[in-house]
Symmetry: D2
Subunit: 397 residues, 4 copies
């Protein structure tokens, strides 16, 4: 590595695009200490792979992700695949001495996550690990964390996290995301994983117990994907004949929890809440003030500062787009020239390159050990939903 | 009763004012079938009682609430006292053949509530009972209920109710609201009672189980009221010497629940959330759409109609101030001339007078039996918070 | 006057109700130095007059407003009639030694307004005058004024006032409000009058010139009122046969102006803006901060304090419902228990009673001289709209 | 051109970055018919030019913009320089047979703009021209235009455009943007140019008259740039000694106008409105509904559909992020994964490449003739501000 980092990526779908863009965009906006070179894209779909590679600027492409481990030129492998293959891919890359940046959640199961954490620990002298909890990199979130750290909110009493989407009603077919074997869980692992990470990141505290949970599968059967094309069809008969398969994951999962510092918390993840397409929200109430964030209005952090006099206090809508004042803002555009979804990924790529280049990141990066803590909370909530009652986190390992 | 209803009221504080105003204002705005006559106010504080009576237009006053039972002129007794005396007062009035309108929650304990429900049942040929769940009477809430009943939201999948306030931090002294003996519970009975009533009212469904709960007392000791005057003092010494007493109620109570129709729900009540002074919010997500309400913006109902085409759908901010379109709106002012907090009480007084005058209410009124169901849910949540685990409602009687 | 003020009111429609309510409600909530006695209501419609009087608590009623002048018991006459009769009624009452509280705008024409101002000046030893610019009495507006006076916004550079409604489209018949002879003007006198008053009240400055204006009548003909009943009919034939009359007022009037202190301003009033039912908005931008107000969210003042550090500044949503912190708030309910439209009238009645009882009002009250200044600006804008060009206010007398 | 378009860019500051990014990003997200090749960057500052070129991927660089005309490889020249040099650069490139994409406003003066329009007309067989009115390319704006074209709003009665910023207070030094010679005008040409373009684009109508205007220079003197470094200094003495220069442009310009179809309009541009950093807003009120847009919440279009029943109508907050439903949305991320400021430029680059590649653009592109119409309105408003009175557009040529 002499000023360049050779990156390989596994995955050519949604996350494949988001990560490719991040590696493309980071250099001009951040001038990082290492310049990423888009070395190889690995994907299972040979038909589209070459065009995807050319479109996004990857120099090589392969349908065998294993090739990446064998290529000595590659420095970092970025994993953007479904949850059930994270373990195999990540461990192989760590054993080959690569840095690994893995999509969230760390894995579909706690066993997989533990194995990954252990492999990362073993490889730690040669390899660094990262997990794409991208919402940490929204300037508004990073700024909220700073306010908490500065004591501006005082002791935190309440955490309220809801991640609501609306794409999972009856007419959505049986995608891999509805199969427990592949996804591990449903809305829970997909969405609550983000919320748990944000809650820990913002408070700087661990969750010590889950105090109750509901896991709900509203739609227990869904159209098999082969027949899904017929879903748009007009014929009632066709619909009746449709082959159905079993959805084996939660459509929604709600849980209550306690934090080490004494805060009480509620979490909710669902794919069945109309009016919420990607509504990742979190609110903290402390003894001196409150903050709240809504990703659908991602450039804004709302702050209620209770130290202000009674006459002029109120929720303050802060545009987190000011250079020198808000994390990452100086790398983009002038104040109030808002940024969007993909910028979180670019900001994270910048911090990865800073860390690998020997600099400090703008904000702390989650590694496999960190993401394993998230996975333990996911597990505790699932146990609570199944058996009822209180689950102390120390019992979940 | 020939066109007039003689009303007596017990209570001369916050609810005393709100109820007095309701009985004063209902006639000019609603021209109800019975005209209320403000007969007698009963209160314990002899010093202010006469001036209170004159200020609000009460013809007589007494410090013995028992007098009301004995006065044959009085038709309806309105109870606006702390929770621990509801039972005694209400039952005495029912036994005296009065109609009773009682503040919420019905009682401080489930035992009291049950006794009141039974007394109401026994007295039902002569007396009607009412409970002041005033938020039902916000036009936006009444309209939301109509949308649910018309099937505009489809099957309800999610209920999300949060009632957040911010007056209960460390410097608030040991008011009666912090004494279990008098209040029964803290934020739970005060705030969750409203939320549970609204959730049942809006969905038309019963809660069938509580699935987990957290009860939290952030501040276990508070300054005794006698010393509270010193709270504003500047001397640190004085503060240290302050006599403290034990707070025996929850500052916050969160719980998860299931509804009979399959919806999953979260409830949260707290007095320690800065930025929320009287934030009574509820959201419903159905298969065809969603609604949400926030009392701090009480004239508005937000509706997301998922049946609208993908291009133009969005959260719709409906000003519920249109005569003929929204409940009670025609009795007040032209469209967008907003109403306030006390109007819910006036609207409820109007419906009480309609019912007693032989007419239909604009919206159904809660009676003691109805309020007892709310009390059972409160109880179930408290049990769940204490012992953990799932509490089926059928086990709480 | 021994602790009581005998009030008479002319007008039994919308303003009749709003003013009746104000005189009814002011005593219990404000305990003013003078207690208003609802003496006589005068109205032209004999059919409804008695029932209106009884409904609202007026002791006497008459169809001859002239009677009020002759009745020595009456202390104050409140005028809630159309603009073209304000002059005759107000002057008669002043000559009879009554105090007068008149609806806004002061008059339909500048000539009438001038005569009223002069009559008030002449009668000033015996009589006080008041004009019902009710929006001044919203707590949020009163609080904004205090912020300006304290210098919290610095020198004011911009005033932006829009008062938008939506009841004046093609299907609205030819009400008196569309007749120049009766109303004086359309949206201009009805709505811009409020905005001009608020702008002067908030800034404490006079408008020195109108710099351009547009008066627009979108619908030059409207159905005559006799035929208006047919408007709802389905038959196209009926509609064609409908008798039409000429609308002689503006549907919208926009103008630009300069303030004495150097601020530039835009005003807009319209009855043809869908989505705005009673959207009375005003924003001030000063060198140190900004405030904005929207009557459809009337309990809130938004403040942007530019003196706050760059990281945490933002628009602050202030609930102006806090006793001791916001004007009038302490007379109503606890914090965040919002108030509505009619409370502005009650607040104003309280200040009238304070002034007549020898006390200071919470906020300054507009008298005829003050309202005459508003009328001069209305006139200047109409001249500018007609002849184009700049109209210095000193030329309009 | 065989599938590739060789692009050159003049300008290495803010617009240099925004345009470089647009040409970089358009290919992977849009797969346009022509692939842009970042051929040459031209800039006056030799020190940073090479690093800028490398950072953004430009293959060549030069400090002589004239070189671009002489290079036969270059197909399109993109002009991102101050307004006073647009004419010379654009005409030179058109004469050399290049396509030209010029920043807005078209020029600093109407004379320059006319010359550019004429040159474009003359070169039209070989060259196409484009003007970077980037806000047209926000999905919300494009979608609003479609609603107007479909007749969803009915006849337009009101246009209300405000473009408010807050960087121009007393402590901002004398940048080129405050020099009339270089910028042509101040907030007017910079911000009202966008608003005029949007108003014409959305309504599909021309402005026929300006009916009044105010041009205001709040700060007539500003610190000379050489001394600007001292601005941050603490010493009062230093400040007093600061050399000052004359600001020769407007800080704010407001005007009223009429549209061909009968709508009345107000425009306002300012750099001195705290709380508004890049608040580009526009609202249209039609006979059947209204839309409004605020760039600080750029992914959202608000729609009020007055055809909806009175009970459920309200302002609808539409996230314009849905593929197939909203312009350009399908090229980016899933629904509600919001986009930011620079995406407007990428969307425009895509449409330029489509047009040059023989395809239809997603939305119409402004050319020099179109931008000249904007310039005529700018001119008319300036005349109205100077001499007062009404300026019919037909008199401004």
């Amino acid at each position: 590595m002499t000023g360049t980092l050779d990156v390989a990526l596994i995955g050519q779908r949604f996350m494949g695009r988001a990560h490719s863009n991040a590696w493309r965009q980071v250099a001009p906006f951040f001038a990082p200490p290492l310049h990423p070179f888009l070395h190889t894209i690995a994907g299972r779909d040979p038909k589209d792979l070459e065009s995807f590679a050319k479109q996004w600027g990857w120099t090589h492409w392969t349908t065998r992700w294993q090739d990446l481990a064998e290529d000595p030129e590659i420095d970092l492998v970025d994993i953007g695949t479904p949850n059930d293959v994270h373990k195999e891919q990540a461990i192989a890359m760590l054993e080959a001495g690569k840095h690994v940046a893995c999509e969230k959640p760390l894995a579909g199961t706690l066993d997989d996550a533990r194995a990954m954490r252990d492999a990362a620990k073993k490889a730690r002298r040669k390899s660094k690990t990262f997990v794409w909890f991208n919402y940490r990199r929204c300037p508004a979130i990073g700024f909220a964390r700073k306010l908490v750290q500065q004591g501006r909110l005082g002791k935190i009493l309440h955490v309220r996290a809801k991640y609501l989407q609306s794409w999972g009603f009856a007419d959505t077919p049986l995608l891999w995301r509805f199969e427990k074997k592949r996804a591990g869980s449903g809305a829970h692992g997909d969405l609550n994983a983000h919320s748990i990470d944000l809650a820990r990141f913002l408070t700087g505290e661990e969750i010590v117990s889950v105090e109750g949970a509901i896991a709900q599968t509203f739609y227990k059967e869904r159209a098999l994907l082969g027949d899904a094309a017929q879903l748009g069809g007009k014929s009632k008969k066709t619909k009746k004949a449709q082959a159905m398969g079993k959805s084996t994951v939660d459509d929604a999962l709600l849980f209550l929890a306690r934090f080490a510092g004494g805060a009480v918390a509620s979490f909710e993840a669902t794919r069945c809440a109309h009016g919420h397409e990607n509504r990742n929200t979190i609110e903290l109430n402390g003894e001196k003030g409150s903050v709240r964030f809504d990703f659908e209005d991602m450039n804004v952090l709302e702050l209620f500062d209770a130290e202000v006099d009674a006459a002029t206090r109120g929720w303050r809508r802060i545009m987190c787009t000011t250079a020198d004042a808000h994390p990452y803002a100086g790398n983009w555009w002038p104040s109030a020239h808002v940024i969007g979804y993909e910028h979180g990924f670019v900001n994270m790529a910048a911090d990865i390159l800073r860390v690998l280049g020997g600099q400090e990141p703008e904000l702390p990066l989650p590694d496999f050990a960190d993401a394993y803590e998230v996975q333990r909370v996911l597990e505790a909530a699932q146990i609570a939903a199944k058996q009822g009652g209180r689950i102390p986190l120390r019992e979940v390992k």
